[in-house]
C-alpha cells in the first residue's frame, strides 16, 4: 500500500471512529429508563375488531402506494439522469444557472412521477374522511410547494456547485457546514413563517405554562395552526431554537379532551426540554457528511458536481441514499419520540389520558396500532400505537410498584383507570 493510500485509509478510519463515537453518545443521550421493558400487549384488548380492521385497511393502501411511489420516483429520476443532460441547451445561464435549471427540472420530473400516487392518496384519505380538501386544492398546494422546493434546490446547488468549482474533489467538506447552517436557519425561522395564532383556551394556556415550568423550560408560547379546513388528522410539533422555540398544535387536536391535549403539550415540551431539535441537527450533520461524500464520489465519473450535466445523476443518488438511510433515520426519530412520550408521562402523571390519547390516534387518524414489523422498522418515525400504550402500561406498573397506586394526574382531574373494551 502506498503512503498516500495509507494516509487516506487512516483518515477514513479516524473519521469513521469519530462518527461512531458521536452517534453512540447521541443515541445514549436520548433515552427512556434503561431498565424499562415494554410489556407485550394484545391490541384487541384496546380496540374493537372494527377499529382494527378499518385502520389496517386504511394503512395497507397507503403502504402499497408508498412503495410504488418510491419505485416510480427512482425510475423517473433514473430516466432524468439519462435524458436530463440534454436540457443543458435550454439554458443561457452559465454553469451555476444551468445546474439550477437541471436540478429544478429533476424535481419537476419527480413531481410528475408522483402525481398519480398523490391523487390516489387524496382519493383514499377523502374516502376515509381524513382529508377535507378537493383534488384541485391538493394539487395546487403541491404545485406551490414545488415552487418552494425549487428555491431550496437552487440554494443547495449554488452552494454545492460553487464549492465544487473551487474544490472539485473535496467540496463536500466545506459544503456540510453550509448545509447544517441552512438547516439551523430553517429550524430557527420556521416558527416565524408558520401561519399560526395564539392558543385561546385559558385553562390550557395556564396548564401549558405549568407543564413547561415542570419540565424546566421558561415561558414557551403555544400556538395553534388552523388546518381543520384541510384535514381531520390531529398533530402537534415543537419548533424553533432559543427565542423562536414554541409548540404548535393543529386546531384538530383541540377537539380532544383537555387532559389528552395536556399529554400532547407535555410530549412537545419534552422535545424542547431534552433538546431534541439541536440533537436532530447533530444527527443531520452525521448523515450529511458521508452523504455529501458519497454524492461527490458518485458524480466524479460524470465530471463532478462542478459540471451541470452531473446534476440529474446526483438527484438520483440523493434519492437512493435517502431511501437507504430512511430506516436509520426513522429508528432515531422513534427513539427521540419515545423519550418525549416518557417525559410526558413523568410530567403529567396521567397514564389514563395518555392511553386514551394514543387509542384516539387509531380511532381518529386511523393509525394501525400494530403494523407489520418491516413497516415499523422502515417507514414509521414514531413508535407504534401499541408500543406507546405499552409504555403507558410500563409506566403505570413502575409507579404502582413504587407508590402502591396508579398515580395521580398532576394537571387537571385525578386519573381513573380506563374501561377495557371487548373485541
Amino acid at each position: 500500500m502506498t503512503l498516500p493510500r495509507l494516509l487516506r485509509a487512516t483518515a477514513l478510519a479516524v473519521v469513521a471512529a469519530v462518527w461512531i463515537m458521536t452517534a453512540t453518545l447521541l443515541w445514549r443521550a436520548t433515552r427512556v429508563p434503561d431498565d424499562l421493558s415494554l410489556p407485550h400487549l394484545d391490541v384487541r384488548d384496546y380496540f374493537t375488531a372494527d377499529e382494527l380492521r378499518r385502520a389496517e385497511r386504511f394503512e395497507r393502501f397507503l403502504r402499497i402506494e408508498f412503495l410504488l411511489s418510491q419505485l416510480a420516483l427512482v425510475g423517473a429520476l433514473a430516466f432524468w439522469a439519462w435524458r436530463g443532460p440534454r436540457y443543458v441547451r435550454e439554458s443561457a445561464a452559465g454553469r451555476l444557472g444551468t445546474g439550477m435549471l437541471l436540478g429544478m427540472l429533476g424535481l419537476a420530473v419527480g413531481w410528475l412521477s408522483q402525481l398519480p400516487f398523490r391523487l390516489s392518496e387524496v382519493w383514499w384519505e377523502r374516502r376515509y374522511g381524513i382529508l377535507r380538501t378537493g383534488y384541485a386544492d391538493a394539487l395546487l398546494n403541491d404545485w406551490l410547494a414545488l415552487g418552494g422546493e425549487f428555491l431550496a434546490i437552487c440554494l443547495t446547488l449554488l452552494i454545492v456547485m460553487g464549492l465544487a468549482g473551487r474544490f472539485p474533489r473535496y467540496w463536500w467538506l466545506p459544503a456540510t457546514p453550509f448545509f447544517v447552517a441552512v438547516a439551523a436557519l430553517f429550524i430557527f425561522t420556521y416558527p416565524y413563517l408558520a401561519d399560526t395564532h395564539r392558543l385561546q383556551n385559558r385553562q390550557l394556556r395556564a396548564d401549558a405554562r405549568a407543564i413547561a415550568h415542570e419540565e424546566g423550560l421558561g415561558d414557551v408560547p403555544v400556538e395553534v395552526e388552523k388546518v381543520s379546513d384541510e384535514t381531520s388528522a390531529p398533530n402537534a410539533e415543537a419548533a424553533g431554537f432559543g427565542p423562536s422555540r414554541r409548540v404548535i398544535l393543529w386546531d384538530t387536536l383541540l377537539e380532544f379532551p383537555d387532559d389528552e391535549v395536556r399529554v400532547v403539550l407535555a410530549h412537545e415540551f419534552g422535545h424542547l426540554s431534552r433538546k431534541h431539535l439541536p440533537k436532530a441537527l447533530v444527527w443531520y450533520t452525521l448523515f450529511a457528511l458521508p452523504g455529501a461524500y458519497l454524492i461527490a464520489v458518485a458524480t466524479r465519473r460524470r465530471g463532478g458536481m462542478a459540471n451541470p450535466a452531473a446534476v440529474p445523476w446526483s438527484l438520483l443518488v440523493v434519492v437512493v441514499l435517502g431511501l437507504v438511510a430512511l430506516p436509520f433515520e426513522n429508528a432515531i426519530s422513534r427513539h427521540i419520540e419515545a423519550e418525549a412520550d416518557w417525559v410526558a408521562l413523568e410530567t403529567t402523571r396521567d397514564p389514563g389520558a395518555a392511553e386514551r390519547l394514543f387509542r384516539r390516534f387509531t380511532r381518529v387518524a386511523l393509525e394501525q396500532p400494530d403494523p407489520p414489523q418491516w413497516v415499523a422498522l422502515v417507514t414509521a418515525n414514531h413508535p407504534t400505537v401499541e408500543d406507546r400504550i405499552a409504555m403507558v402500561v410500563a409506566w403505570r406498573g413502575r409507579h404502582r410498584n413504587r407508590d402502591g397506586r396508579d398515580g395521580t394526574a398532576r394537571f387537571g382531574k385525578v386519573y381513573s383507570p380506563p374501561v377495557r373494551r371487548d373485541s
Binding site: 436540457y87 443561457a92 435549471l101 427540472l105 419537476a108 425549487f150 437552487c154
Partner: protein, 404 residues
C-alpha cells in the same frame, strides 16, 4: 422548403393588412372635440353592427354549406370592417380626417381585405370557438368589444400631445394602429371573411420599423419550446423573481445616486450605468423567460450577450439636466402605458403557454408582440433610472431603423 422561423418573420402576408397613410399632423380643434365629433359615427356604427351580425350569421351558414363566401355578404362585411377601423382610428387619434359613413377605401388608416375565396368548412364551423384567444387579445390590444386598455391609454397620450404640438407622437400612433389592425384581422376572421387566423406579429401587420433608440431589442430566439420547461415555467422563474426582488432595492439606490450624478455632470457615471444597465437587461431576460418570449433559462447577472431576447444599452451619453431634473413627472405617462402593456404581456404568456404545450413552439406573432412590450418596459426603466434621456418609443415593431 419550410420558411425560416428563427428570429425573423415567416414569409406569407396576412390577407388582411393595415395601410397607414397618415402624416401625424392633427387639427387641435378637432382633437379637442374628438369625443363629441365621433358621436354620429358611433350611432351609425351601432346600427351597422346590428345588421352586420345578421349578415355574418348568414355568411357563416353559407360558408359552412358551400365552403365559399357569397360576394354580396363579403362586400358588405368588408365595408363594415373597414368602417369600424376608420371610426376607431378617428376616435383613438390614429388619423386626422373625419371619416366617411360608407367604409369606402382611402382613409389614412385603412384595411386591405382579400377578395372572396374558398374556406375550410370545418374551420368555419368552429369559428366562434377558434376565435376566442384572438378575440381576447384583440379586446386587450385593440377595440374588439369596446376600447381596450392599450389603445385607450395611447389615445389619451396622443390627445395631450396633439393639443400641445399639433402632431401625434409616431410611437403612440403606430401602437394604436397595431391594435386596430389586429382588431380588423380578428373581425375579418370572426365574420368569416377570411380563414386566416389573426397574426399579432407587428412587423407583418404594419410595414414599418421602430426608430433607433439607445435601448434596443435584439431578437434571436428560436421558436422551439421544450414542453417540460414550458409546463413548469411559472415555477422555474421563482429563483429569478426572488433574485430580482433582492436586486430591486440596490437598483433604486443606484438610480437615486445616478440622478444626482447626472444633475451634476450631465451624464451617468460609468459604474452606475453598468450596474443599472445590467439590471435593465436582467429584468428583461426574466420577463422574457417568464412569458415564454425567450426559451433558455437566463443567467442571473444580466449579461449583455448570451440571451436570445437581448436588450442592448448604449454607453453613457450626455443628458440634458432639465430633463433629468424633471425625470419622474416626465416618466409618469410612460409608466402608466407600460403598466397597461403588462396586461398584454401576461396574455402573451398565458396563450404562449397553451400553444407551446400543444405544439412545442411559441407562435411567432405572440413572441414578437411580447418582445416589443419587453423592449418598451426596458426603455421605460432605462428612462427613469437615468440611463438615457431619450423618451421611450412605443412603436410596436421588432425591426429597428439603423442609427444615423
Amino acid at each position: 422548403v419550410r420558411a425560416p422561423r428563427v428570429g425573423g418573420v415567416t414569409p406569407g402576408k396576412h390577407p388582411v393588412r393595415l395601410r397607414i397613410d397618415d402624416d401625424l399632423c392633427r387639427s387641435r380643434l378637432t382633437v379637442l372635440f374628438r369625443l363629441l365629433l365621433v358621436l354620429p359615427h358611433l350611432v351609425w356604427l351601432l346600427g351597422w353592427t346590428f345588421v352586420a351580425q345578421v349578415a355574418a350569421f348568414a355568411n357563416w351558414v353559407a360558408v359552412v354549406i358551400t365552403g365559399e363566401t357569397p360576394a354580396v355578404f363579403h362586400g358588405f362585411l368588408a365595408s363594415y370592417v373597414r368602417y369600424t377601423t376608420h371610426v376607431n382610428a378617428y376616435l383613438f387619434l390614429a388619423a386626422n380626417p373625419f371619416p366617411g359613413f360608407r367604409g369606402a377605401p382611402g382613409y389614412p388608416v385603412d384595411v386591405e381585405l382579400p377578395p372572396p375565396g374558398r374556406q375550410s368548412r370545418w374551420s368555419a364551423g368552429f369559428r366562434l370557438v377558434l376565435a376566442v384567444p384572438a378575440a381576447l387579445l384583440a379586446s386587450a390590444l385593440g377595440t374588439l368589444g369596446g376600447p381596450g386598455g392599450v389603445v385607450t391609454v395611447a389615445a389619451i397620450g396622443s390627445w395631450f400631445a396633439a393639443l400641445a404640438l399639433g402632431r401625434s407622437p409616431r410611437g403612440l400612433r403606430d401602437l394604436t394602429a397595431y391594435g386596430l389592425g389586429y382588431t380588423a384581422q380578428t373581425l375579418a376572421y370572426l365574420l368569416v371573411i377570411t380563414a386566416r387566423y389573426p397574426d399579432s406579429h407587428p412587423d407583418r401587420l404594419l410595414d414599418r420599423a421602430a426608430p433607433h433608440h439607445p435601448v434596443r431589442l435584439r431578437l434571436e430566439d428560436e421558436l422551439r419550446r421544450s414542453r417540460l420547461t414550458v409546463f413548469f415555467r411559472p415555477l422555474l422563474v421563482f429563483p429569478h423573481l426572488l433574485w430580482l426582488t433582492l436586486w430591486g432595492p440596490f437598483a433604486l439606490l443606484a438610480t437615486v445616486a445616478n440622478w444626482f450624478a447626472a444633475l451634476a455632470i450631465a451624464r451617468s457615471p460609468r459604474p452606475l450605468h453598468r450596474f443599472l444597465g445590467a439590471y435593465v437587461r436582467y429584468t428583461s431576460h426574466v420577463y422574457a423567460y417568464a412569458t415564454l418570449v425567450g426559451n433558455p433559462f437566463p443567467g442571473f447577472t444580466g449579461r449583455e450577450s448570451g440571451y436570445p431576447v437581448a436588450i442592448l444599452v448604449d454607453p453613457p451619453a450626455r443628458q440634458r439636466r432639465l430633463v433629468t431634473l424633471f425625470r419622474l413627472p416626465l416618466a409618469l405617462p410612460i409608466i402608466v402605458l407600460s403598466g397597461v402593456l403588462w396586461w398584454l404581456l401576461i396574455l402573451v404568456g398565458v396563450f404562449g403557454l397553451v400553444a407551446a404545450l400543444v405544439s412545442g413552439r411559441m407562435p411567432a406573432g405572440l413572441r414578437a408582440s411580447g418582445a416589443v412590450v419587453i423592449r418598451y418596459g426596458a426603455q421605460v426603466t432605462a428612462y427613469w433610472s437615468i440611463l438615457t434621456d431619450r423618451y421611450p418609443d412605443s412603436t410596436p415593431m421588432v425591426r429597428t431603423e439603423r442609427a444615423e
